[in-house]
């Protein structure tokens, strides 16, 4: 009986934690975009070099997007294709709006001068910031609810079986 309660409660907690995964990922992408933006502004370095540099940064290297994107670039793929490959490799936990925003970025990144690139990145950062706020709000509302629902379901089943 205890096992049933624990299992369902655990399931609720796991479901609730999915919100944390989304938050963490959006935060990592935001950090990456800030990094790309500052590197473009400061060093005017090519995107490939910036991504390579990001790979060596501990907090950004966790982004599952980076390595597949770099591998594709190194194998001769164009940036839009490589970027999409990277994003599609790292969609777990993200919502459609975030995936869309990130995928589109590859089509325009590196296409224009510094000012336009910074504008583009700041627009994407704004979108991701909104997504992050939304994810945090959602987590606040639903994470505890899922855990409680899991616990209650477990208790209900125990009572019914009793």
């Amino acid at each position: 009986m205890v096992l049933v309660v624990v299992c369902l409660w655990g399931t609720g907690i796991i479901q609730g934690n999915k919100f944390s995964v989304r938050i963490k990922k959006v935060e990592t992408y935001l950090q990456l975009l800030f990094f790309v933006s500052s590197e473009i502004k400061y060093s005017h370095a090519p995107i490939k070099n910036i991504l390579q540099l990001a790979c060596t940064t501990e907090s950004l290297s966790q982004a599952g997007f980076l390595q597949p994107c770099l591998n594709a670039l190194q194998s001769g793929e164009s940036l839009p294709v490589a970027w999409k490959k990277g994003v599609s490799n790292d969609t777990q936990g993200l919502k459609e709006r975030e995936i869309q925003a990130l995928s589109n970025l590859g089509d325009f990144l590196g296409c224009s001068d510094v000012d336009n690139q910074l504008q583009l990145l700041s627009q994407k950062i704004k979108v991701l910031q909104e997504c992050l706020d939304e994810a945090k709000e959602e987590k606040k509302k639903k994470a505890r609810l899922y855990a409680n629902l899991g616990l209650l379901s477990g208790l209900t089943i125990v009572i019914l079986l009793w």
């Binding site: 090519p46 940036l79 296409c111």
Partner: protein
């Protein structure tokens, strides 16, 4: 105190043949593929199929929107079909370059980061890995009356860089008496091999081949001499060379004099007012100058006010004129001009005319 192993050695003046053999340039067909790799992948795949003999002698890869993809060896033009075979005439099966090919090639040439090449785009060409040069042609974008970029790119011309180790041998033998390098102006028409000779000269000076290792500072404003990529030179420039890549010549000369204590300052294509000013400010600093300039002969050279102004300073001890594109790197004429040991010797010019440049009488032979 010196620690570790100290190996004494002579400069490479007396280098034996086995050592000389190690200094081999990259194979010409590899240079071709390296240059072609800069463009859009489908076109690169077609260019890979080009016969080896043509890869070796190709000087230019030309992409023009709506026109056939073609190669040039400096004399003839070859049109390429989709299967990589060559024709000397534009046939119906020639591969037609599309606007998308051009656009994607442009983005690839820019490393998919156009903003990082803005200055080069303004200059009209982009240096690729290996020192190859992609010339761009399109519609000018002006900002406050000045060129700020190019849109609707209609053609790209990729010049395959030819790194010719030993290209300056003849010049060294004829100009540097007793292997003593001096300030030198290398002049020649387009494609006469000025940059190639200059690059090899930089190598010889700073690599100990003239009896000692001279410290040279290469001011590579347009990335054509050393072709730096991620901080590494793509061409051989010698062990005692510093490369200032992308700097304006004037600023770079001042920085070099203040911070790098060079024996020689080496730069390509002087001719602007700023260059003149910088050179004037740098004379009497105990530094030699080696530079190139666009000019076929002395008549043309002295008609350029900025160059005349530079010559008047006496900074250049000798002027070397190269022949034309048909015989790149070959010396047409050497003129002893000024410098510390100058006796104001006048040497022939093609026209046989007599000119007065500043206080120097330039007399035809």
């Amino acid at each position: 105190m010196l620690t570790g192993n100290f190996v004494s050695g002579r400069p490479k003046k007396g280098m034996d043949k086995s050592m000389q053999k190690q200094i081999q340039p990259i194979l010409e067909e590899e240079k071709f593929e390296q240059a072609a790799a800069g463009i859009y992948e489908p076109l690169f795949q077609i260019l890979k199929k080009v016969p080896l003999s043509l890869k070796k002698k190709t000087q230019e890869i030309r992409l023009r929107a709506g026109q056939p993809l073609c190669l040039s060896d400096g004399r003839d033009t070859y049109f390429i079909t989709t299967d990589g075979t060559l024709c000397t005439e534009d046939l119906s099966n020639s591969y037609r370059v599309t606007q998308r090919d051009i656009e994607m090639s442009f983005r690839k040439i820019c490393d998919y980061s156009v903003y990082s090449r803005q200055q080069e785009i303004r200059n009209g060409f982009i240096t690729l890995q290996g020192g190859h040069r992609a010339g761009l042609c399109g519609t000018a974008v002006l900002e406050n009356g000045e060129l700020s970029g190019i849109r609707n790119i209609s053609s790209i011309n990729i010049r395959v860089a030819k790194e010719m180790i030993g290209a300056a041998d003849e010049l060294v033998r004829q100009v540097f008496v007793g292997n003593r390098p001096c300030s030198l102006l290398i002049a020649g028409p387009p494609c006469s091999g000025k940059t190639t000779v200059l690059r090899d000269l930089a190598l010889q000076i700073s690599d100990g081949r003239l009896g000692r290792y001279y410290k040279s500072c290469i001011i590579d404003e347009r990335g054509e001499i050393a072709a730096m990529q991620n901080g590494l030179p793509q061409n051989k420039i010698g062990v005692c060379s510093e490369v200032m890549s992308g700097y304006k010549k004037g600023e770079a000369m001042q920085i070099a004099l203040r911070c790098l204590s060079p024996d020689f300052i080496i730069c390509d294509e002087i001719g602007s007012h700023q260059d003149v000013q910088a050179i004037e400010e740098s004379i009497n600093a105990g530094v030699g100058f080696i530079a190139t300039v666009h000019s076929s002969n002395m008549d043309e050279l002295v008609k350029r006010p900025q160059i005349t102004q530079i010559l008047q300073t006496g900074v250049f001890e000798k002027i070397v004129f190269l022949k034309n594109a048909a015989c790149p790197g070959q010396i047409a004429e050497i003129i002893t001009w000024g410098g510390k040991e100058s006796n104001d010797k006048t040497v022939r010019n093609g026209s046989g005319s007599c000119m007065l440049v500043g206080n120097r009488d330039y007399t035809g032979e």
